[in-house]
């Protein structure tokens, strides 16, 4: 088990969330959702606290975290880029778009760039098949993306003023 490196505040936050769910073990996934929603990711120390609060083994928490693709132990980039790999997007060239993002940012799926600005993830259908292929950056949706547009999309976020704008969007 790790030495707990979390701040008192964070620990209290996690404890409060667990308490909201009455520290019931069958609420584990709800708890993980809430905690990740607050902290952005679920590092080992956080899982330790949750395990303790729900009175279950930390291996079980880790088993659940690694089962569901929604949960992550890696902090996301400032601008998380999600490429939809649903069938509609796939047949309209999402693979090439993904490849271009990977090439431009020099990171793999699930990783963040060294400066922490971008991370790439694949999604299974965001339900916007009419706009295929679809890419989302933060909350913003880009439709009918061609590989040639990837550079522009990234550029939009590397300039700091537009970045702030996108953040608030």
């Amino acid at each position: 088990m790790p030495e707990i490196k979390l701040s008192e505040n964070t620990i209290q936050l996690i404890k409060n969330i667990c308490a909201e769910f009455e520290n019931k073990e069958n609420e584990l996934i709800n708890v993980l959702h809430r905690v990740q929603g607050k902290l952005g990711y679920l590092p080992a120390e956080v899982q330790e606290v949750i395990a303790k609060e729900l009175n279950i083994g930390v291996a079980r928490v880790y088993g659940v975290v690694t089962f569901y693709s929604f949960f992550t132990m890696i902090p996301q980039g400032e601008f998380p880029i999600s490429i939809c790999m649903g069938t509609a997007c796939y047949v309209r060239g999402a693979e090439q778009v993904l490849a271009e993002f990977k090439r431009q940012l020099n990171v793999d799926v699930g990783e963040s760039t060294n400066d922490g600005k971008f991370s790439i993830n694949c999604l299974r259908c965001v339900g916007a098949c009419g706009l295929a292929p679809v890419v989302t950056v933060g909350g913003k949706v880009f439709g009918r993306v061609a590989p040639s547009q990837v550079k522009e999309i990234i550029a939009e976020y590397t300039q700091s003023n537009s970045a702030d704008e996108a953040k608030s969007a």
Binding site: M1, P2, E3, A44, Q47, A51, I56, G57, V58, A59, R60, V61, Y62, G63, T66, F67, S69
Partner: protein
């Protein structure tokens, strides 16, 4: 009783409603091969995730094949267990498993004892047609258990033992799909986890994914070193199981041959942990009576119940999970460690050998003992009281390696002064035995009367939690027994909640006690073997001339010559220990 009729491979049978196809087939002598399924009758332990898909059978009218282990038989079912379709499916699934399994059989610790290997052979696999990426994970070596999870086939047996039976919760399936495997959290080393090293995962693993740390090489080197005096002690449960490794019926006692084999292996002195078990009773029994009498006289500082402390996995369990209760268990060391301490002081002095030149080897039914011997408090200036621990299985391998015809060996006697034991020492090997041994001595010391009977049937059995009240000549002593850490947890939670009325509780980590230890010959899912070993232990006890620890003349002599009284300062120094709160100590 509701019964149903069905046909299996054209045989019509009548079975109880709710019987699985697997069990129904077994009733007419049809063996359906299984890999992940494990049912330990008597112990109430079952693992049937339905994941290996080896036991699939054809059910007339059903679209796909049915897993026999977790499909109930129904009235009128027509089942084929070995049709072409079934055999082809089974072989293909087997090939798939092998396509993701390292081909290291020649050097695998499990070779010859591997359920997967046997199954591949049984299914006649001669070629693996499917080739591709194999999963790869870091191997992990701890003081007691080695995990080579490239060999994991996701049968989930270890997970069932670790979680459902032992409630230790160190192992879980992690990841998803092709990457899924059973592992501790964050894929950390076992050594950093709350693992108790009970070894029940090792005991049930069908492949070489989980094995004990092999110390036979070190033992061989010690035996070959002319500057060392090598003494060996052997735990009670070993003699009730070792014979199985040499083709003898489960439950065959091989005490005499065991001694002969150890002598032929070159050990200078062949001793018995049972002797130390008698010593444990003297210390623990005295401690029990002290606490009991102070309690009865109204001393508020005294805590009851007292808990036994022979089992290292149990000790590690409460250090991690119930650190607030670490002052409740007896401070008495385990028999193995008492033996080591006495061997390296009393006996070394007798021989006039330096402790560094005396090597103590333990033959144990247990893998946690490998961890226990390495605990700092059992070392003097870095020199451990017990140098090496090998399991029953490792001993069998050593005997075979040395070309000793075990079954042809004569029966020989243990050496003295650390080889004589009472029947009470013997029964330490089974659940209920430690507390029965303690009762035999504590009764006579407390009441100053001779026991009217020696067999306490009320303390014996295989139920996970048992309780009995023993009449100490008008004083009712309430005794609890738990084997399996999940059962132990229940009793501990009762104590925590102030609901426990016991005066003394015996706890053993492994189901069945040491006879079912993680270092014993593999039971391969047949729990009836444990019962037979248990019967053997009680047989050995009743055959003994001396059956009460305090009547063992060598024990009496040891106190007279060396220790003084039970709980004396010297005894305290050599035979007692302390426990630690381990909740914050572990790191990733």
């Amino acid at each position: 009783m509701d019964t149903i009729n069905l046909t299996i491979d054209n045989k019509t049978i009548e079975v109880k409603k709710g019987t699985s196809i697997l069990d129904a087939a077994a009733e007419v002598g049809i063996e359906i091969p299984t890999l992940c399924h494990m049912k330990l009758h008597d112990l109430n332990i079952e693992n049937k995730p339905g994941g290996c898909r080896i036991c699939v059978v054809e059910v007339e009218g059903r679209r796909n094949l049915a897993p026999a282990c977790c499909t109930d038989a129904h009235d009128g079912m027509e089942i084929s267990t070995h049709s072409l379709r079934v055999v082809n499916a089974r072989r293909t699934v087997m090939e798939l498993i092998l396509s993701d399994h390292p081909f290291e059989c020649l050097i695998c610790a499990k070779s010859g004892n591997c359920d997967l290997q046997d199954m591949a052979h049984q299914l006649g696999i001669r070629e693996v047609h499917y080739k591709g990426e194999q999963s790869h994970y870091r191997a992990d070596t701890s003081p007691a258990i080695i995990r080579e999870i490239d060999k994991c086939i996701m049968c989930r047996r270890c997970e069932t033992m670790c979680n459902d039976v032992q409630t230790v919760g160190v192992l879980s399936a992690i990841n998803r799909g092709f990457n899924s495997v059973v592992s501790p959290a964050f894929e950390m080393n076992l050594d950093h986890s709350e693992c108790t090293y009970c070894g029940q995962c090792v005991a049930v693993c069908p492949t070489g994914a989980l094995t004990e740390v092999d110390e036979t090489g070190k033992v061989i080197r010690a035996l070959a070193d002319p500057t060392k005096t090598v003494v060996v002690q052997t735990a009670p449960a070993v003699r009730a199981a070792l014979g199985e490794e040499f083709g003898l019926e489960p439950g065959t006692l091989v005490t005499g041959k065991l001694v002969a084999a150890l002598r032929r292996l070159g050990f200078n002195h062949v001793f018995d942990t049972d002797f130390a078990a008698d010593l444990t009773i003297m210390e623990e029994g005295t401690e029990l009576l002290n606490r009991l009498n102070r309690f009865l006289s109204g001393d508020k500082d005294v805590k009851l119940p007292i808990l036994t402390s022979c089992c290292p996995a149990w000790v590690k369990f409460f250090e991690h999970q119930f650190p607030d209760m670490k002052d409740i268990p007896s401070t008495a060391r385990s028999p193995m460690q008492m033996f080591g301490a006495i061997a390296k002081t009393y006996f070394a002095e007798k021989l006039a050998v330096k402790r560094e030149d005396l090597v103590v080897v333990s033959i144990m039914p247990c893998v946690a003992k490998k961890y226990e011997r390495g605990r700092d408090e059992f070392k003097v200036n870095g020199n451990p009281d017990v140098d090496h621990v090998i399991t029953t299985r490792e001993l069998a391998a050593l005997i075979k390696l040395s070309n000793i015809d075990f079954n042809a060996l004569p029966n020989e006697e243990f050496d003295n002064p650390l080889g004589e034991s009472s029947g009470a020492g013997v029964i330490f090997g089974t659940t209920g035995g430690v507390i029965e041994a303690a009762v035999r001595t504590a009764y006579e010391i407390q009441t100053k009367k001779e026991l009217p009977r020696l067999d306490f049937d009320e303390l014996r059995g295989m139920e996970g939690i048992r309780e009995a009240t023993i009449d100490f000549d008008g004083l009712p002593i309430k005794i609890g027994i738990a084997h399996g850490l999940g059962n132990a947890r229940k009793l501990l939670e009762d104590i925590q909640a102030g609901k426990s009325e016991f005066h003394a509780i015996e706890i053993m980590s492994c189901p069945g006690g040491c006879i079912g230890g993680g270092g014993q010959p593999y039971h391969h899912g047949d729990a009836s073997i444990l019962k037979k070993r248990q019967m053997a232990i009680y047989r050995e006890d009743s055959n003994k001339a001396i059956r009460k620890s305090h009547e063992n003349p060598y024990i009496i002599n040891l106190y007279k010559e060396f220790l003084g009284e039970p709980m004396s300062e010297k005894a305290h120094h050599l035979l007692h220990t302390q426990y630690f709160d381990r909740t914050e100590k572990v790191k990733i």
